[in-house]
Amino acid sequence: MNALRMHPDDSVAVLVRDLAPGDPVLLAEGEEPVTLARQAIPYGHKVALRPIRAGEPVIKYGERMGIATADIEPGEHVHVHNVRGLKPEERGVAVNG
């Protein structure tokens, strides 16, 4: 096990170990790898578990944690270089107005 998926619907997992390119992403002991890391990704950071197209929401905790700003392949590092936060109108509720 080297990655944690917080919710079954999630498109990303959090790494608990540093991964090198080609390392398997393992969500549980004894299970087949979900995918292989496409680059070096530090622990605490996120890896894509399935393809996420530009403009699609990124799902963590079963919720939308951001929007992909580029196409993301399984095994890719998912972070500020390919994800942005939700805009107020994308949240579905207004707070300040």
């Binding site: 963590k60 905790y61 919720e63 951001g66 500020v80 936060g85």
Partner: protein, 388 residues
């Protein structure tokens, strides 16, 4: 599954305590040391010391009274003595009256009216000793998880808070709510960025609006001081640690509350009327937040920490959950449950969540939490305005 029971102290207002404290509180800051002397003179009494109560704007005076009375009426308290000075004597008297109006035991003594300080301390200690003797005669009786209110808190967070301890606590919250109990999610500032998620889970449009209103009010107060939480988060340190968006950071915080519907939104220090997941409007500052939740009737607080925060409470056991095993190994004295095992593949969110729930039951039955063993009794009230 049969609802698990615990053995608690039944109170006249129908609530159940997990502790049987007799407390002495100052009504104003000037009486803080006198309160400590009184507690020293009556072994077994819990001093509750704070630095508020005088020279406050009306909104702060009301919040102070609500917080002190709420804590004195917490189910864990068998009896409370308020100590006042004189010039503001109505404060101590009003506090005792508010607690008695809830069917609970309280008394007020005013220093100015005493023949000497020594006589005053002895009079106060004598009243407290009588209350201790009465409290000792209260037996523990069977009670249900549905009678528990559990406060949820995080303090000294780290990169793993949103990955291990907070979601595991969310699993425990869902178990408690599943049995008909109540959990209080707090820290309004920390929910900014995930307010739409909780609002969407609100039981009614009114509850959703109440929640969005407290978020907007807090955010606007911060903006008025030039602080923009949305732009400042995630912080550069957060991003380095792997957090990408504010949404993600705030989700990691509100995960403590689990996944059940949001039933009610309450003011700071107010007691929830509903059962289930409740949100209390509090600052992110952990001591203010815990004090507000114990004023709201929380008999137990569960507190996640990545840095080994020692925060305790004079009113309720504070159960600590570490987010990583390193801090657990360094400070086992401060920590009750280690959620860091999830990172090492030795546990899951489910198994640690179950362990937290089991710990809540054990502590409800009388097992001391780590913070109690060390006598940690932090207590402070959310201040709204400046001092007059």
């Amino acid at each position: 599954m049969a609802e698990p029971e615990f053995m608690g102290y039944r109170r006249a207002d129908g609530t159940v305590g997990v502790r049987n404290h007799v407390v002495v509180m100052n009504s104003v800051a000037e009486a803080a040391t006198i309160v400590q002397r009184i507690a020293d003179a009556a072994a077994g009494v819990v001093p509750v010391v704070h630095h508020h109560g005088y020279a406050q704007f009306p909104e702060d005076r009301e919040q102070t009274l609500r917080t002190l009375a709420g804590n004195a009426a917490n189910p864990n308290v068998a009896a409370a003595l308020f100590v006042g000075l004189g010039g503001e004597q109505e404060t101590a008297l009003e506090l005792a009256e508010r607690v008695r109006a809830r069917g609970r035991t309280a008394h007020a003594l005013i220093l100015e009216e005493a023949p000497s300080v020594a006589a005053f301390v002895e009079e106060a200690a004598a009243w407290l000793r009588r209350q201790l003797a009465e409290a000792e005669s209260i037996p523990r009786m069977p009670a249900k998880v549905s009678e528990l209110i559990v406060g949820l808190e995080c303090g000294g967070s780290d990169a793993w808070s949103g990955v291990t301890a907070n979601p595991a606590l969310g699993v425990a919250s869902d178990i408690i709510v599943g049995y008909g109990g109540t959990v209080i999610l707090s820290e309004t500032t920390e929910a900014i960025g995930a307010e739409h998620i909780l609002a969407a889970r609100a039981i009614s449009p009114q509850v959703a609006k109440a929640f969005l209103d407290i978020i907007a009010a807090y955010e606007n107060r911060m903006l008025a001081t030039g602080t923009d939480i949305r732009s400042a988060n995630p912080s550069p340190g957060n991003v380095k640690g792997g957090l990408t968006t504010l949404d993600e950071k705030s989700l990691g915080c509100i995960k403590k509350g689990g996944s059940t519907p949001l039933m009610e939104v309450v003011r700071y220090a107010d007691r929830p009327k509903e059962r289930g997941l409740v949100f209390m409007d509090t600052p992110g500052y952990d001591v203010d937040s815990v004090t507000g939740m114990t004023a709201g009737g929380a008999q137990i607080v569960v507190f996640t920490t990545g840095r080994g925060s020692p925060t305790g409470s004079p009113i309720a056991p504070v159960i600590k959950v570490s987010t990583n095993s390193r801090i657990y190994r360094r400070m086992p004295q401060h920590i009750d449950v280690d959620a860091g095992v999830i990172l090492e593949g030795k546990g899951t969110l489910e198994s640690v969540g179950r362990e937290i729930f089991d710990q809540v039951l054990a502590v409800a039955n009388g097992k001391p939490a780590a913070a109690e063993l060390f006598g940690h009794k932090e207590f402070s009230i959310w201040r709204l305005a400046e001092t007059i």
